[in-house]
């Protein structure tokens, strides 16, 4: 999963950078130059990059939780294997991203503590329930699809360790997405019951998918640090439009209907009506669409969503239950030879 634009830092809060060094840095980055860990960087750059990596790592770890629930309930052995591999990949991505964030100056302990206590955030979509197998299919197709779009642009960013991690992550993300597509096509080529389950899951996940890219752009988006310093290379709205242009026709081609939905506090859909704005503008090539419900988005992300507490409780539980493993690694030794 990838970072949203919601990681903001007020650069006035950070140590004021040496104006000469800052000018050289900004020129270097604007010209497409890259930044490695031992290079000089403004404090605000370090802070913002750290928050991005941390948010991204949190999202990978929490994202694996709803999927983990379905491993034992997968409808076939192939799906079980693929879902297990996806979860494994995501936890691995989390580990790599925590390493990047650690190297930028925050301890692993502090990051896990802040995640569990709700200080730092993760992608909002993981605060919603996954009541059916079709939800897992839709997450893999839509959310991983959105992540690939976003991460593709992040891989052109300026910070070396992060962009190298993006390249590695994107390879695995391609498998998640392709498998998601396979699952959705299976459902939409299946029985009426399968198609109905798929449509209902799509109704739950279309909104969170287009909200995935973060809130609407501010007018000065490109002058803000994240884009000025090339940590993000595309705006939220640009990515959102790209996503709709790709996925709206694909969804409709499978027979899915794109609805504007209202949700209750439990995350379930209470009403669904076909999106009246969903039309192709022949001139621009862009599909019109109804924006996500931003009020609901902010309500959920602030901790009042259907699954926020449940996700964090499970993370805390796993962490506490894993104490004995950390002790064993610390105190024990393995029987594998090492040549030190």
């Amino acid at each position: 999963m990838s970072a949203s634009a919601n990681v903001e830092v007020d650069i006035n809060d950070c140590e004021v950078a040496d104006p000469e060094k800052l000018a050289v840095f900004e020129a270097h980055v604007a010209a497409g130059g890259l930044v490695e860990p031992n290079d000089w960087m403004p404090e605000a750059y370090r802070t913002l990059m750290l928050r991005m990596a941390e948010h991204h790592a949190n999202s990978e770890i929490v994202g694996a939780l709803p999927e983990g629930e379905w491993i034992t309930r997968a409808p076939s052995l192939l799906r079980k294997l693929a879902l297990t591999a996806k979860v494994q990949d995501e936890v691995g991505h989390g580990q790599m991203l925590y390493e990047v964030a650690q190297d930028l100056g925050k301890t692993r302990n502090a990051m896990l503590r802040d995640l569990i206590t709700g200080v730092t955030k993760y992608h909002n979509c993981f605060n919603y329930p996954c009541p059916t197998w079709a939800d897992i299919c839709m997450i893999a197709w839509l959310i991983d699809g959105a992540a690939i779009l976003n991460q593709g642009t992040l891989a052109h960013g300026s910070f070396g360790p992060y962009i190298r991690t993006m390249r590695r992550i994107n390879m695995e993300e391609a498998f998640h997405f392709k498998h998601g597509e396979d699952m959705v096509l299976t459902l939409m080529s299946g029985t009426d019951k399968q198609k109905q389950m798929a449509q209902e899951a799509f109704d739950r996940w279309w909104g969170p998918s287009i909200a995935f890219f973060g809130p609407n752009d501010r007018p000065d988006e490109r002058e803000r640090p994240a884009m000025k310093w090339r940590m993000k290379t595309a705006t939220n709205d640009e990515l959102r439009q790209k996503f709709v242009n790709r996925f709206a026709p694909a969804a409709m081609a499978t027979g899915l209907v794109i609805n504007v939905c209202e949700k209750g506090e439990d995350g379930y859909v209470t009403s669904a009506t076909p999106d009246p704005l969903l039309k192709l503008d022949e001139e621009t090539g862009n599909w019109g669409f109804t924006q996500p419900d931003w009020d609901e988005f902010f309500r959920v992300i602030r901790g009042n969503g259907p699954c926020n507490k449940e996700r964090l409780a499970l993370r805390r539980f796993s962490y506490e239950q894993g104490e004995w493993v950390r002790r064993a690694i610390l105190n024990g030794s393995t029987s594998t030879p090492n040549n030190n």
Binding site: V35, K178, I329
Partner: protein, 183 residues
């Protein structure tokens, strides 16, 4: 340990290790990433699990991060790695015999870099690298069919499903129009 105090603090101080993998014979070892571990034996275990699993590799090297940039050392063989420009990964370029880390990097510059531009050089004593050889010691998952976890394992199936869906939509549309004509 209370829930407010969330960790064994010693875990915080695990040193960092750099991992290099060699994909196939005749490839060079390339930097794959880093990880935290208390010692070399866990480092190579974690490296296998994380960097050796999904991308087939036939050899894996792991070494403590601080040693790659150290100027210290003993008189012995050093493995040397070059990062040619920012954004790229360090690649193994060869071995040099040197008295310490600094000398190893200087010799590397002379022999392997020459006039070319480079961004950074790492050097580590061969004796401090943990090497895992896939030929004698299986690196996990290199031997079984992994297509269930690769995008390539689904490309053809997905294409076939799209074709079938479109064909059945076409048939439905055809039947619909056929009915319209008849009635």
């Amino acid at each position: 340990m209370t829930t407010g105090d969330l960790t064994t603090s010693e875990v915080e101080n695990f040193p960092i290790w750099e991992v290099f993998t060699q994909k196939k014979e005749n490839d060079v070892h390339v930097h794959a990433g880093s990880l935290s571990s208390p010692d070399a034996s866990f480092a190579q275990l974690f490296a296998r699990e994380h960097y050796g699993q999904d991308q087939v590799c036939i050899s894996l090297w792991v070494g403590p991060r601080e040693l790659f940039t150290s100027d210290e050392g003993e008189n012995e063989i050093y493995e040397v790695f070059v990062q040619w420009s920012a954004g790229l990964k360090h690649e193994h370029v060869g071995e040099v015999e040197a008295g310490n880390g600094k000398e190893a990097k200087d010799i590397c510059k002379e022999h392997f870099v020459g006039e070319k531009t480079f961004f950074s050089i790492w050097a580590i004593q061969n004796s401090k690298l943990t090497k895992v050889d896939g030929a004698t010691d299986m690196i996990w998952r290199a031997t079984t069919d992994q297509t269930y976890r690769l995008a390539s394992g689904y490309s053809r199936k997905v294409r076939q499903k799209w074709d079938a869906l479109r064909a059945s939509n076409a048939v439905d549309k055809y039947q619909e129009e056929d009915l319209k004509e008849t009635y």
